[in-house]
Amino acid sequence: MSAGVVETTRRRESARARAVATALLVAAIAMFALTLSYGDFQISLPDVVRSLLGQPTPPGVDYIMHDLRLPRASVSVLAGLAFGLAGAIFQQLLRNPLASPDVIGVSQGATTAAVVAVLVLGVEGGIVAAVALAGALVTALVIYALSWRKGVGGYRFILVGIGIGTVLTSITSYILTRSDVKVAAEAMIWLTGSVSGRTWPQIVPLAVAVLILAPMALTLGRVLTGMQLGDDLATAFGVRVQRSRFALLITAVGLAGMATSAAGPIAFVAFMSGPIAVRLVGGGRPVLIQAALVGALLVLVSDFIGSHLLGSRQFPVGVVTGVIGAPYLLWLLATANRSGRGG
């Protein structure tokens, strides 16, 4: 009898998880199409599809599609997916909603490296992206090494990460106060996150990374269900805790670092996507796919608002993500979970 109830509940939960994922996917595709079609120069949806398929289109459409809108929409989707996935992995692996890469120092590693490269060393172009990625990876490895003590405990990792992140933030603030105000103001736009004016050479590495790392993360993510029980129980169930944790973390750092190097640390996407997905799905199961899709949708919607709906001035996407994502998360916090888990 009770086994039947458990079975029914489980089936209902996974049906809901699938429904949420499907709805998010549809919404993200619709937003992607809208981003390609809408602008000062309207492109009809049939023309969008024709241009994507390489068929003949009215004059100007191919240029706007391939050189302006498609890069922008692609980097939005890819960075959103990567940040959402990375954030959810961190939060679920470390069992703390505050433990996203933008809170525990990984994103700060990327930004500090980039700020030093641009404002102190005067580097430009693609090298900045490489430096940012290296910054994220080195920071993550330093945090991992410093928190190693017969294994890496969840809280220890987060605390060490916050400590390292604070130092990095301070270094960034210090450099900003020492630089010319115009240069510092430009740096702040990158620090907030922006997807405008990206070129294919900047996007392709991110695309490759997402294609390789996202399936890896989802496969490795299966162990999360076991790990959420706690290290001891997970070990008892045969999950190789340390090795799986390390592999997942490195995958997540790779995703966050690549996304940061392409679009800047788009504010709060990594932090918010996971909790939003958890509340949409309910039931306390790992929600990596849903979190990734929430991330993509959040970046697409935010960039659309930032570039079309705020008057004559265009705002970088990172300015908007917090404004629309956070109230939505608050609303979910207040309402969506009344029947589910209290936390």
Partner: protein, 329 residues
């Protein structure tokens, strides 16, 4: 044993305060410092430096440090989250946004003017965070509070960035507040802040026993006769007053509020009746030492205290985090 520890820390704090008066772009002998405090001579440059510049700065450091330390210990107790810093109630984001608005839209350009906007923003935001965090099932549970705080911070920070991107002059002012500094603060700021800090500290110490009960979980706390809702509300009120005031005085130096309670807990254990006074004395100690170091390393200029606290605080924090006991809360 713990009492003796408090006395030692208080003595060290007095020493740090004396150092903060004596050391700077121009070093002043300790004898002259004492003389300037007891019997100031308006014609002596050294006396003027001490009474007009270093004394207010040291007082602001003492007050802000104590407030951050106390607020940090209380907020970690209320949210039962060792990662919670006093900024989790949205205090920094609220203060930051209001200060930016004051600078950019109202054209206020001096610190004494926008300190009050900072305080107002901190207060409004933390009430908002607490309200949103309490809606729905179970009231203000630790996870909901932490998420609500981080989410409100995200939203307000985005607004702040939006203003800063469109207004380079406001950004120019704001970047110096945001770093966190004690330089240029006058006695008037300290005097006007004092009532808020005193009330906040009283509320914090009053909550100590309740925080001990809350640490055992809401159900156990209730069975001990503790009204969980009221206890959380009082403690949150203390954090708002302490952290809001300190942030508007010295900028967002939350790292102190995060780190110091962990250091204090490693000495006192989890009992808030000891944890709170230790945090209150250790935090200004770290802040004043950091401020003195910041004045020495880049003479005749100085490095803002926010940067120094991060650079000397982080290694201590990391070392502590590696100890087993810290992870438990």
């Amino acid at each position: 044993m713990l009492t003796a520890g408090l006395v030692v820390i208080a003595a060290a704090l007095a020493g740090a305060a004396l150092l903060s008066l004596a050391v700077g772009a121009r070093d002043v002998p300790f004898g002259t410092v004492l003389h300037a405090l007891v019997n100031p001579d308006p014609d002596s440059t050294e006396h003027l430096i001490i009474t007009q510049s270093r004394l207010p700065r040291t007082i602001v450091g003492l007050l802000a440090g104590a407030a951050f330390g106390l607020a940090g210990a209380v907020i970690q107790g209320v949210t039962r989250n060792p990662l919670a810093d006093p900024g989790i109630l949205g205090v920094n984001a609220g203060a930051g946004l209001f200060i930016v608005v004051a600078i950019s839209l109202l054209g206020i350009t001096n610190l004494t003017g926008y300190v009050w906007f900072g305080f107002l923003g901190a207060a409004i935001t933390s009430v908002l965070v607490y309200t949103v965090g309490s809606i729905g099932r179970g009231g203000a549970t630790p996870v909901k509070l932490a998420l609500a705080g981080a989410a409100v911070t995200a939203a307000l920070t985005s607004f702040t960035t939006a203003v800063l991107i469109t207004d380079v002059d406001a950004f120019d002012q704001f970047r110096f507040w945001q770093v966190g500094s004690l330089a240029g603060r006058g006695t008037d700021i300290a005097v006007q802040s004092l009532p808020f800090l005193v009330v906040g500290a009283l509320l914090a110490f009053y909550s100590a026993r309740a925080l001990n009960a809350l640490a055992l979980g809401d159900d156990v706390a209730t069975s001990f006769g503790q009204n969980v809702l009221v206890a959380r509300l009082i403690a949150a009120g203390a954090v708002v007053l302490l952290c809001g005031t300190a942030t508007s005085m010295a900028g967002p130096l939350v790292f102190i509020g995060l780190v110091i309670p962990h250091i204090a807990r490693s000495i006192t254990g989890p009992d808030h009746r000891w944890l709170l006074p230790y945090s209150m004395l250790l935090a200004p100690l770290l802040l004043l030492i950091a401020d003195v170091i910041g004045r020495v390393v880049a003479r005749p200029g100085e490095v803002q205290v926010g940067i120094v606290t991060a650079i000397i605080g982080a290694p201590i924090f990391v070392a502590l985090a590696r100890r087993e006991r810290l992870a438990e809360l």
